[in-house]
Amino acid sequence: MIGANTISCPNCGGSIAVRAAGYTVSLACQYCGALLDVANPDVRVIKQYREAVAQLPLPLGSRGTLFGVEWEAIGWQERQNSGALWTETLLFNPYAGYRWLVHFEGHWQFGTMLTETPQSFADSTVRWRGQAWVANDAPTTTVTNRVLGEFYWRVHAGETVGTAEYAHGNDTLSRETNADEINWTHLVALRPSEVRTSFHAPDADATVEDTPAEDTPTRTGGLLTRWADLPLYGENDAVMMVWTAVLAIVLVLTGMMTFGAVTAAVSSKMTVQIDGPATQVTVGTLTVDRASQRMRLTANTDNAFVNTWVDLDYALVNRKTQQAIRADGTVEFYAGRDTDGSRWTEGNGYLNLYIASVPRGTYDVVVQAQGHHWTDPKAIAPVATNGWDSVLTSARDVTFIASVGGMDWGVFWTIVALLATPPLVLLYWQMKQRQHT
């Protein structure tokens, strides 16, 4: 079966192939220019044009392959607005539908009609397929001067539509509006040689520099315009941000684990007399073999450590210089019963102290501890008056561990929070947006 239908021009009698039979509504006779209505079986002349049939850059009926699809040029129109004159060739393939070839000052653009409506989300900006498209100029009126060949709508010379163009890089979104319809077309720039070779039209624009059409002539160039062209946000930004954050967190974790491994650790145990004199013990000797490293000083008490606090004074004594880095803290744990009978506790019976950057060197870790007893004034039977209690709490074992290196989880979780917040905020915002629409 041939994908075309033949009719006779009622004006000049010429035999015309209807290439997109069934879709084509109006047809301008290629011999006499008469505009024919072919929407109905009885072909009739809509209007006779006296002007000569135009010379077309791509003859009607010529075929070429663009983007992997063979197209036939079936219609042509010359259009203009206040500032420019250009032509549009309608391409057809029965399996792929319609496309446009827009020809302006030797440059070509390939146009595809959109089936979705770009979202306008700011003055002079629309969003389509995750990208922001910025208006080139103020909307204008476009007039069709001449038509030739087939069209899927009732085209006629003098037809006017409102047009607005939006740019993203070299691509253009064009919006055409009339009383009944709003149509959007996506235009991509082609190299003139692409059109020449694929349509075997050697004369078409051989003199024009072979670069894709720049359809943003009003662009002033420079960094600011480039920034203005950047999309405000894309459809996939949130997902990309989440993945970037996850990747960054993994990298940070790997890095911190690698450099934060414990390189040396010592431990020692001492018995602290509660309400007794201060006692001192050397936990051990540690060597910092990098320029500076973190040191962790841990003090653990036994399970019976209640209503007691132990003041700890650490000194890291550099063997070579005998200078000391000092740190102090308190291990404390209190428990009791309120007058209403409810139990309460405070503190936790262990202490972790961190010294962020200890310089390279060998250190004796010395700790001095002094224990104190605390009496709950609200206790119904004050524990301190119970002789057993003072015996029980008179001495407590404290285990000290000092280590060089180690993972700084606080820093890690801070980084996680900072990295995860922006994508989560965006995801939340998008979710809210979706609920709105």
Partner: protein, 222 residues
């Protein structure tokens, strides 16, 4: 598949697997109603004018992971053009429509729940919808893109309704920002709503497309 003779002209009427009551005789365009294993002439469908649609009765494909076969078509004309609606028999026993206009395709399924929307109900009761009207169906907002009065130009194959010549409808197409599509059609008796999306022919992995001697089948289609 069983072929039954047309009670009007005696030609064999091929019946495909679709649970729809009407079929158009390919020979004489008689509109036939199926009852049990019998066919009864109930009217006359118009002869389809020639068109270059790539779809034909018997074209198969996949939509939403379900196999389909094209079993029927109605062609609608309005003052400035025409479009096709192809009936798809889906492997799960349901039917859908593949709308074809200006070389674009819409895959649509019945959306009876949308008939209850105030805008649609007012339209069903004789009201009008103008382009730009918004409706919200299942969380998706649609904007009326065009409104047309159309007449049935012809029909072929199997159909869920009688499609007599000169049957007139009012058809409203809605679009949205994501390529979804909503179609509302009203005739003298009832209003139906169809929801779906725009699709590319290649998305349907079609087989058995119509061949044209002067056009090569593009890669990926057959």
């Amino acid at each position: 598949m069983p072929d039954i003779s047309c009670p009007s002209c005696g030609a064999a009427v091929p019946l495909r697997k679709a649970a729809v009551p009407y079929v158009v005789c390919p020979q004489c365009q008689s509109l036939l109603l199926r009852s049990d294993d019998d066919l009864k002439t109930v009217g006359q469908a118009a002869v389809l004018p020639f068109d270059v649609s790539p779809i034909q009765i018997g074209t198969c494909g996949t939509a939403d992971d379900l196999f389909f076969e094209v079993v029927g078509r109605v062609r609608w004309g309005w003052t400035d053009g025409a479009w096709n609606e192809w009936l798809l028999a889906i492997s799960d026993g349901t039917t859908r429509w593949l709308g074809e206009a200006m070389g674009t395709f819409m895959l649509l399924r019945d959306a009876p729940q949308a008939c209850e929307l105030p805008t649609i109900r007012a339209f069903a009761n004789g009201g009008t919808i103008i382009p730009g009207t918004r409706v919200n169906v299942g969380g998706q907002e649609f904007i009326a893109a065009d409104v047309k009065a159309a007449t049935c130009l012809g029909a072929e194959g199997q159909l869920p309704f009688a499609a007599p010549a000169h049957w007139t409808i009012t058809s409203v197409d809605f679009r949205n920002t994501d390529g979804a599509s909503l179609s509302v059609q009203r005739d003298a008796n009832e209003t139906s709503v169809w929801i779906g999306r725009y699709v590319e022919l290649t998305d349907l992995a079609p087989k058995g497309l119509r061949r044209f001697d002067d056009w090569a089948m593009p890669q990926g289609l057959q």
